[in-house]
Amino acid sequence: MKNQDLYNYILGIADNSLILGQRLGELCGHGPNLETDIALTNIALDLFGQTRSYYQYAARIAGDGKTEDDVAMLRVERDYKNVLLVEQPNTHFGHVIARQYLFDVFHLLLMTELQNSKDETLAAVARKGIKEVSYHQRFSGDWLKRLGDGTEESRTKMQEAIDHFWPYTAELFDTTESDQKMIKSGIGVDVSLLKESYYKEVTETLEEATLDVPENPYFKKGGKQGIHTEHMGFLLTELQYMQRTYPNMSW
């Protein structure tokens, strides 16, 4: 492939949205109440919409006759480049909100920068997505504050969830070899530069939510290199089931 680095770079962004969307989609019909259920699946829909634009572009670059669906559905675990944060299970509503908020803040910073990419397609997807992502952050941030600054039980659960996901945040700011090449050519965003704004924003929200900012110096990484946690295989089994069982099915 001529543009392997660009291809890798696109998947690095797209896979986060696909996998987080799949996690949120699992909540369809299982949300804590009807409104939240609809909200979470609406966020999943936005993420799938964005990721579809990325995969269409990636399939075009690959130029090997593969479609957006092949790229999304038919890779093996090691070929998915999402961060570990987004593949973590839903566990309880506090976890869903903590994972979402910690991703949304990053996602919005990334989209804001990606709008200025020299690659017109990526810039267009970002410009479209940014409005949606800022709305996601409003939703997850509101719930974080409501639960953190809520009852004793909701605060305990919310704090536990934040502590649980904190070690996964550092990976958001890592860059792969392909990322670095794309940054140099003005296409990619240097995510390492977003780190300061990210932790500042998150810290302010946690304080408003009366939650403690974790001080865990040990971070978990690997997703960007395709080394995933044990949850990823189960997630992909469900995501890919229909295409694996009935190859090329469509409706």
Binding site: E35, T36, I38, A39, N42, I43, L45, D46, L47, F48, G49, Q50, R52, S53, E120, A123, A124, V125, R127, K128, G129, K131, E132, Y135, R138, F139, D142
Partner: protein, 167 residues
């Protein structure tokens, strides 16, 4: 509306485009919604540029098919291309479209500042589509589709959708 962003639509195609409705809000046509960015005749074919309201809007595929079918009925062939840039905004909805939407029971988008106040629950300004009262509260930031939020009127108790401002 920014004059530069006026869609480029051939006049003779307007009557056919005006037959194609949004599958989710059937009182609105694609022209009311402002999702047609270009519709021109070229080499005997109709070339259409369609822009999505939201990235994941499932209505887009249906609208694309409906457009092709509407032109086929008029013995014309249409090609539909999805364009993302410039991103759609609620400013592109026609005034007539907003009025029809209100009659249908969906509150039309407020301007950007008012929208923010309404969706943060700071001010009660969204008008109930049933009784007209502004004594309404936000029930959920996400309604029955990605483009709407759910409100309820505290006077007549009617729940209704509000079409969110997107800029």
């Amino acid at each position: 509306m920014n004059i530069d962003l006026q869609p480029n639509i051939d006049k003779e195609l307007i009557p056919i485009l005006d037959e194609v409705a949004d599958p989710e809000i059937p009182v609105l046509t694609v022209l009311d919604l402002g999702v047609i960015r270009e519709a021109i005749m070229k080499d005997g074919k109709v070339l259409i540029k369609l822009t999505p309201t939201y990235s994941g809007c499932p209505a887009m595929d249906v609208i694309g098919d409906d457009l092709k079918a509407a032109f086929k009925k008029n013995k014309m062939e249409a090609e539909v291309e999805l364009v993302l840039s410039p991103a759609w905004t609620t400013d592109w909805m026609s005034e007539n479209g907003k009025r029809k939407m209100e009659e249908y029971g969906i509150a039309a988008p407020l301007d950007e500042t008012a929208d923010k106040e309404a969706l943060l629950g700071n001010k009660r300004i969204v008008k109930c589509t049933n009784c007209g009262s502004t004594n309404t509260k936000l029930v959920s930031q996400f309604g029955s589709t990605a483009c709407k939020a759910l409100f309820q009127c505290e006077d007549c108790q009617e729940p209704f959708d509000y079409f969110k401002c997107l800029k």
